[in-house]
């Protein structure tokens, strides 16, 4: 019995070796893209045909944030079998952290000229800044919160859930309820997060004008660097002994527990790590798109992230990234051409991928490569 587990592990190590080529391709592509953007946007004059417009830069920056989010979902779903339908919540919380920092940076340049209160508080007649807005004028504090708040929420939720062995679909439904509850909460104006309008009209970030091309390119490059770094870190974690245990939990949780591992703490820490990644993605996303509002908490968004991962191929980090970028690129193009048909296409994609491509596009490519190494019948794995 345990030999089959060992086989599994061996098989996964193989997958990692394979992913190494994938990693190389992915990282070099990322570097090339960043260089292209820097040169194309800042050095080539606007009149030239090779100029990369700011529009494209922010679009690509957005894709990178989504890629990071997709990777964070893949870390827990692909490697630990925990399907979170609420990762949008962590993404949005990170985004709100950044949004609050950016709001405080506006200072007295808001339309009412109030030095302390953001505009939306002024016209709703708030007299003083709510306690949870304090500190967000400091960049370091905001950054800390961006890591801490999603992490803490994930810790509390994960600790409660994993300890009482809420697993599988129950956990998925609970995560969905979590993000739904947060959606409703953030919609409330009394919460002090700007209600439905959210936070917008940002001016600058660490002293840099947000509307300047150089800031936008910097944000893009930072996103690329963070993505690369997070990718390497995740790969390192998953290849370490910790990662091995995680994978064995995915494949046979009861057995791993019987071997003496406290599976719930492994799961909690991985869940926290993943939530923090999602939070960072959200924080990078907000200054690039210029708005954060409660619709980011919508359950639909979280489910869409899962689809990106499924399309790209779960269980391979670059698969998730490729999936996120491909689906979003398709969305940008598709909605421009046939807005009506987009939902048909997206829905069809869900069905086709889950029924016919359980390992996504990357799995499809890998299967073709592995034909030399003998047939591989293990397509689907038990998730519960």
């Amino acid at each position: 019995m345990s030999s089959s587990l060992m086989n599994k592990l061996g098989h996964d190590r193989q997958a990692f070796l394979l992913s190494d080529t994938g990693s190389k391709v992915f990282l070099s592509l990322l570097v090339i893209m960043s260089l292209l953007v820097i040169v194309g946007n800042l050095m080539i004059p606007e009149t030239s045909a090779l100029h990369i417009s700011t529009y494209t830069v922010t679009l690509l920056g957005k894709y990178l944030c989504f890629a990071l989010l997709a990777m964070s979902v893949d870390v827990i779903w692909g490697y630990c079998g925990i399907l979170s339908l609420g990762h949008g919540a962590f993404f949005a919380l990170g985004g709100y952290g950044m949004g609050m920092y950016l709001m405080r940076q506006i200072g007295d340049r808001g339309v009412y000229g109030d030095p302390l209160l953001p505009d939306f508080m002024v016209f709703l007649n708030w007299q003083e800044l709510p306690w949870f807005w304090y500190g967000f004028d400091q960049f370091w504090f905001a950054m800390l919160m961006i890591l801490l708040v999603p992490g803490l929420l994930a810790f509390v939720f994960g600790w409660l859930a994993f300890r009482s062995r809420v697993t599988g679909v129950y956990l998925s439904i609970m995560t969905q309820a979590l993000t739904y509850a947060l959606l409703l909460a953030f919609f409330r104006n009394e919460m002090g997060f700007g209600g439905n309008n959210g936070l917008t009209d940002f001016k600058d970030i660490v002293g840099q004008d947000l509307q300047a091309d150089s800031t936008r390119v910097s944000l893009f490059v930072i996103s690329a660097i963070v993505l690369a770094f997070a990718y390497l870190l995740s790969r390192w974690i998953l290849q370490s002994k910790f990662g091995r245990v995680i994978i064995s939990i995915r494949d046979a949780e009861a057995r791993t527990r019987f071997l003496g591992y406290r599976t719930e703490s492994y799961k909690v820490w991985l869940f926290v790590y993943s939530a923090v990644l999602a939070g960072i993605a959200g924080a990078l996303y907000v200054p690039q798109v210029g708005i954060i509002n409660p619709s980011e908490f919508a359950p639909l968004n979280s489910i869409e992230v899962v689809v990106w991962v499924a399309v790209g191929g779960r269980g391979t980090l670059y698969g998730a990234i490729a999936g996120a970028i491909l689906v979003n690129f398709a969305k940008t193009r598709f909605t421009a051409i046939f807005p009506e048909a987009w939902l048909f296409a997206l829905g069809g994609l869900f069905v086709v991928v889950t029924v016919f491509l359980p390992k996504g596009i990357v799995g499809l490519l890998a299967k073709r490569n592995k034909k030399n190494n003998g047939p591989d019948n293990k397509v689907a794995e038990a998730d519960v």
Partner: protein, 556 residues
């Protein structure tokens, strides 16, 4: 069983309907003290009904009010049809000869059937272009209603008299009081008499002697009518005689106590009603998720399909709204069940044992179905009419009434639940379903066609979602997003109640509904919902298998 219920309820509903909404028969020509001048002045200076009413043609709103007053004094009961038409928005004038007519639209054509507003002579049909409406607004209408009430005070119809009194007791002018006194003498009906006495007692509070006032307070004690309460409250505030004010305050306190009690009852009913909606939307899920273990994210869309089926059936039979609802019940069941079976055969059977993938695939299906109805029916909400028997409320007293649509949905939900129980417990299909859900392989070994059972179970669950759609079409919008609004709620109910246990769904639905409604007044609707959601999340951590966990082997 189902048929018997529907037949029965139709009868009952019709009865209730007839009792509460009598045909608006015009009052007979009972006298109204219209004083005729009788001084024999020259004819053209005396205003006649015709000469006054003719001024309505093209009158501005402000002028209409004055003309109506004049008409009442001049015409008395003769102008009742005209007033009624004015309230109903049926009063027009012809563009050519400025004749005041009552016009009724012929079905949905552009033709209107004209009658003379005063003589009632038929004037044939004309096109809409030839006539123009006499303008009214709310204020005018409410004034006219009081006028009509005065004229109805001596009607033969008990409920008309009752309505007239309650209308008049809000405006206790000396004229009205005189009329009421007059009516009291002739009134035979007990409850109408009581109402008149209450109205007169309220008048006494203003105009009576001290003893009369105290007697009036004694009479009014415990009366829940809001006008009575308001009257007593003003007495408490403004009465200079202390003992009267005290008596009034005591009476008011009794009333307030009663109102609080009925307030709780009302909230309880609201909670049960919300619970019945939750039960309906979750019952189908309890089958597909609880019994089959399939996460059907397209469950909400099954509800939506049921609602759209109701809409289509109504389109097919626009003149039989009430009947269409009863036809929609089986039709919605069949449509949703067929879609369910299609989904099961087409997608879900390939994902057996992979619940998370089923979740994603069915979510994809839900997107497709939403876009599907959007393409066919347009993204706009569709209009589903409410049959008469489902509108209005059953008035238990003046502070507590139960709306019929909610009441029927409550009954419907319980009925669906028990029929479902019956199917699962007493039929061979139910036996097979339970066998497959407990031990698939063993059931197969015993010769049960598990695939066939799976498809039927899924169909059953989806069909019940369709029934929920029929009910929802009566209380909310029928649009492509209908299902989305309920999917998370229904999952919560099933998980909270305990998967695989229908009774758990029943208890879960009702307790969440009641909890929500009792929280709502204190916290507001949004916060109540958030608290309930967070409560469920925490509860599940404590008891991962819900309120009523499945016991035994099947649990693992």
């Amino acid at each position: 069983m189902l048929l018997r219920f529907t037949y029965h309820s139709v009868l009952r509903l019709l009865f209730v309907f007839a009792a509460c909404y009598p045909f608006n028969s015009m009052a007979q020509d009972v006298l109204v003290p219209v004083l005729s001048e009788g001084n024999g002045s020259i004819e053209d200076t005396v205003p006649t009904i015709a000469s006054v009413s003719e001024r309505l043609a093209g009158a501005k709103l402000k002028e209409v009010a004055a003309i109506v007053n004049e008409l009442e004094t001049v015409g008395g009961t003769q102008v009742l049809p005209l007033f009624q038409a004015l309230i109903d928005g049926d009063l027009f004038y012809t563009k050519g000869d400025k004749r005041i007519v009552i016009a009724k639209r012929i079905d949905s054509s552009k033709q209107y059937l004209l009658k003379d507003a005063i003589s009632g002579d038929e004037l044939g049909t004309v096109e809409k272009k030839k006539i123009r409406k006499v303008k009214t607004n709310n204020r005018l209408r409410s004034g006219i209603r009081t006028t009509i009430a005065r004229l109805h005070l001596f009607s033969d119809d008990v409920s008309l008299r009752q309505g007239a009194i309650s209308n008049m007791s809000e405006k206790l002018t000396q004229d009205n009081v005189n009329l009421l006194l007059q009516a009291k003498q002739t009134e035979k009906n007990k409850s109408v008499r009581a109402s008149i006495e209450v109205a007169l007692a309220m008048y006494q509070l203003d105009a009576g002697e001290r003893s009369e006032k105290l007697a009036a307070i004694g009479l009014l004690k415990g009366n829940l009518d809001p006008t009575v309460r308001n009257k007593l409250a003003t007495v408490v505030e403004s009465e200079s005689d202390k003992s009267i004010a005290q008596a009034a305050a005591a009476a008011l306190k009794t009333i307030e106590g009663k109102i609080t009690f009925y307030g709780y009852l009302e909230t309880l009913f609201f909670g049960l009603s919300l619970g019945s909606v939750l039960l309906l939307v979750a019952a189908g899920l309890a089958i597909t998720f609880g019994v089959m273990g399939v996460i059907n994210m397209a469950h909400g869309e099954m509800i939506m399909l049921g609602a759209y089926t109701t809409y289509v059936i109504q389109l097919l039979m626009p003149n039989h709204i009430a009947l269409s609802i009863f036809i929609a019940i089986p039709a919605a069941f069949i449509v949703s069940a067929l879609f369910g079976i299609l989904i099961e055969r087409g997608v879900i059977q390939f994902l057996k044992g992979r619940p998370l993938e089923t979740l994603l695939a069915t979510f994809g299906i839900s997107l497709i179905l939403q876009q599907f109805v959007r393409s066919i029916f347009s993204p706009l909400n569709r209009q589903v009419a409410t049959p008469e028997f489902m509108s209005g409320a059953l008035e238990i007293n003046s502070v507590f009434s139960i709306t019929y649509n909610r009441l029927y949905i409550l009954v419907f939900a319980l009925l669906v639940f028990f029929i479902l129980q019956l199917i699962l417990k007493k039929t061979s299909l139910g036996l097979n379903v339970r066998a497959v859900s407990q031990n698939r392989d063993m059931a197969k070994a015993m010769g049960i066609r598990t695939e066939w059972v799976d498809a039927l179970t899924f169909g059953l669950g989806s069909g019940i979602a369709g029934l929920a759609g029929v009910a929802l079409s009566q209380i909310t919008n029928v649009g492509p997003n209908l299902g989305q609004a309920y999917i998370i709620d229904s999952f919560m109910v099933v998980v909270f109640g305990g998967v695989g246990n229908l009774w758990g769904t029943l208890v879960g639905g009702f307790s969440l509904g009641v909890l929500n409604k009792f929280l709502e007044p204190a916290t507001g609707a949004v916060l109540a919902k958030i608290i309930v959601l967070v409560g469920i999340i925490l509860f599940i951590q404590k008891r991962p298998r819900g309120l009523f966990p499945q016991k035994g082997r099947a649990a693992e």
